[in-house]
Amino acid sequence: MEQMTKAIDSLRIEHITKRFPGVLACDDVSLEMKRGEILALVGENGAGKTTLMNILMGLYYPDEGKLFINDKEVHFKSPNDAFAYGIGMVHQQYMLVPNMTVLENIALGYKQAWKGLRLDLQSVRKRVKEVAKQYGLVVDPDSYIWQLSVGEQQRVELVKTLCLGAKFLILDEPTSALTPQETDDLIALLRNMSEELSIVFISHKLQEVKDLSSKVAILRHGKVVFQGNTIDHSSSDIAALMTGHEVVLPHNDAPACTLGPMLQLRNLKVRSDRGHLALDDLSLYVCKGEIVGLAGVSGNGQRELAEAINGLRKVESGQILFDGEDIANHTPAHVISSGMGYIPEERNTEGIVPAFSMKENFILKDSESPLFSSHAFLKKKEIDQTAERLRKEFDIRSPNTDVAAGSLSGGNIQKVILAREISRNPKFLIAVYPTRGLDMGAAEFIHKQLLHLRNEGVGILLISEELEEITNLSDQVAVIFKGKIQKVIPSSEASRRRLGILMAGVKDDEEI
């Protein structure tokens, strides 16, 4: 890609349509952008935002429609073509090679450094310095990606795109892994950059949309349902347009923790895959009939916590008291049979066996239970009956219970997992990002189920990135930072600002 790409004065998308097997991702989408504008592309998960941007990046080919840059029609056969026009994208999952340095990652796309049989890293270094000076983005060119924090990696991605000559920047959910303070920094940076570049950013966080964008376009089920100036509309207007109806998420109003503790974590020390202490002397307790929401930027030990409690990760020291018994370092089977329910983070790879049928997934944890087998032989009738009952009770959309669980939609897969866990009558439930990637309807259903469980006396540890979800459902909110619990505060006192400060590691958080 040339350093001197021509400025993009206007970019137009006309009647773009894109189909995947069984899904219409983009339906006759038309948008226009002018230089210096910041467009927010808003919509629920699955609305087609990322697909549209991937088409703009040359990663997907549209089935119908045209692209115009500066009023000239363009065809992108690969990301290289998009780069040539100065379009660059920072993806939600960073596209960096972990075991290569920052320079090497940039060199992958910086073709000027490819001198036949020699890789000229010096020229890359020079270019990085230029960009750093121009935009104020500083990175250490020689560090390996795996050594960097999430925020630093994002900065590398930005530097990379700019080094490759981007004049049109696409950002996919740029703040999903940042603390509120890092988010503010990014927004200030982007506002600065918009003087020379055009920016499109995808988001479902309405506050950001209001803070940063000059224009907003809303996608629903692959169609553009609204385009306009941000300034003319309120957050609730935009939310209503996103979902198509007024959505009020269920709220937790009942008093809590009158029944004694169910789960007590005491001074837990747990290591991450990389070797460092993911949980560093962590203590927390959850009562029967109480929902404790664990707020925190992803990567501060949430995953390791959930795994440690469920016997999937070694506890170096500390105790996990479950209804009085220390279950630390017991097998997952033991924890399960003690009455622990678990909705894991990755529903497709941890929650269900995708190749198994829905009914086989229902009995995944209970194949040996006398309910479903006698003398090691599976009881077909009982299994079928139970599966059918659960399917109806949880309104899982599928023709029957024999379909492969992996072929269901995200929301339905989550329902399968939920159905299985709830039908086992757990004493306690750990729910990790339970509504991630789901549409509002499915989220509402799951929230109702969680509140119902709580009212039945089940204790719930809710781990989530969505502050609204946490504050709506929880009795208490605990903030986790670098493997420790910063503070536990009642949900009524958990404002976005206060949580943001705690999530960033600051202990002094009292409201002014």
Binding site: F20, M57, L59, Y60, S78, P79, N80, F83, M89, H91, Q93, Y94, M95, L96, V97, P98, N99, M100, E104, N105, A107, L108, G109, A113, W114, K115, G116, L117, R118, L119, W146, K160, L164
Partner: protein, 314 residues
């Protein structure tokens, strides 16, 4: 002492086939593909390597050019087999382990079939002889150890720094490493992941073919069904053991041939040790080494074994 030097100087050429094949497999694995069919490609290479001089001379001495043509043919067909393997595991995204076994059976079977038809029996050929480097080969101790071998031995050991340079200092090597570790990142920046993988497979196949040809032209100076004797599989294991790094892989290759040389040494010394247990040694060593080597993929190709599919939505 002389005896030790003799054993070592015999042992170093033994490591050549393993070394060349492993370096080829290193490129495959660095790009994200593990090729159990290496053994089959070596078998084809072994057959084709000796086919050319044999067809010309029927076992008698032939001008050197035909031997080298044999090497060329072996490498060329090896590269083609690599591309064919790529068709199955890259284009069709078939599981690499089983596909590798299929490729191995295909290669070994074809080599055997063609051999029986065109050559047959236990024909031996003069092959390629040692080419001592003038001057250097006369240095005491180091001379016979390092500089009194056939030319391919020198080539093989030169391949080590060459591979290092290609993998770590050239743009292509950068692409190979990216493609094998984080193909999505490479794809998003405009690198054609599958094309790079095909290129790596072609190189790996060519080297596997060359390694096989070495066995028939330089080492055994004949062809038989058992000539490869599992070296292709050992090469794949070696790459794991050597953490995908040319120098460590060379170390591993030398280590294994030491085990083989030990077999000769013990026999040579007349010690009465059951022959079969000595032959077992290298294979046992592979298992022990695999058991105790670090399995971390942290600095290696983390996408090893996973087909790349851009259309897959996470």
């Amino acid at each position: 002492m002389n005896f030790v030097i003799n054993i070592l100087s015999l042992g170093i050429p033994f490591s050549v086939a393993l070394l060349i094949a492993s370096l080829g497999e290193m490129f495959n694995q660095r790009a994200g593909i593990f090729n159990l069919g290496c053994e089959g490609m070596m078998a084809m290479g072994a057959f084709l390597g000796m086919l050319v001089p044999y067809s010309i001379g029927q076992g008698a001495d032939v001008p050197g050019i035909y031997n080298y043509l044999g090497l060329l043919l072996a490498s060329g067909v090896g590269a083609l087999l690599g591309l064919f393997f790529g068709l199955v595991v890259v284009t069709f995204r078939a599981p690499q382990g089983i596909a590798g076994i299929g490729m191995q059976m295909f290669g070994v079977g074809t080599a055997g079939t063609l051999f029986r038809h065109f050559v047959g029996g236990t024909q031996s050929i003069p092959g390629i002889n040692t080419a001592p480097i003038p001057g250097l080969s006369n240095i005491p101790i180091l001379g016979p150890l390092f500089f009194n071998h056939n030319p391919l031995v020198y080539v093989a050991f030169l391949l080590v720094p060459l591979s290092w340079y290609v993998l770590f200092k050239t743009p292509w090597g950068l692409r190979v490493r990216a493609v094998g570790t984080q193909p999505r990142a490479a794809d998003s920046i405009g690198i054609q992941v599958n094309r790079v993988r095909f290129q790596a497979l072609a190189l790996g196949g060519a080297l596997a073919g060359l390694a096989g040809a070495y066995l028939s032209l330089c080492q055994a100076k004949m062809f038989s069904d058992e000539i490869i004797a599992g070296r292709g599989f050992i090469a794949v294991a070696l790459v794991y053991f050597g953490h995908w790094h040319p120098v460590k892989i060379m170390g591993g290759a030398l280590l294994f041939t030491l085990a083989q040389a030990l077999q000769l040494a013990i026999q040579g010394l007349g010690i009465d040790f059951p022959y079969e247990f000595l032959v077992m040694l290298p294979y046992l060593l592979v298992i022990i080494v695999l058991a105790f080597s670090k399995k971390s993929l942290l600095m290696g190709p983390t996408a090893l074994g996973k087909p790349f599919n851009r259309e897959m939505r996470t």
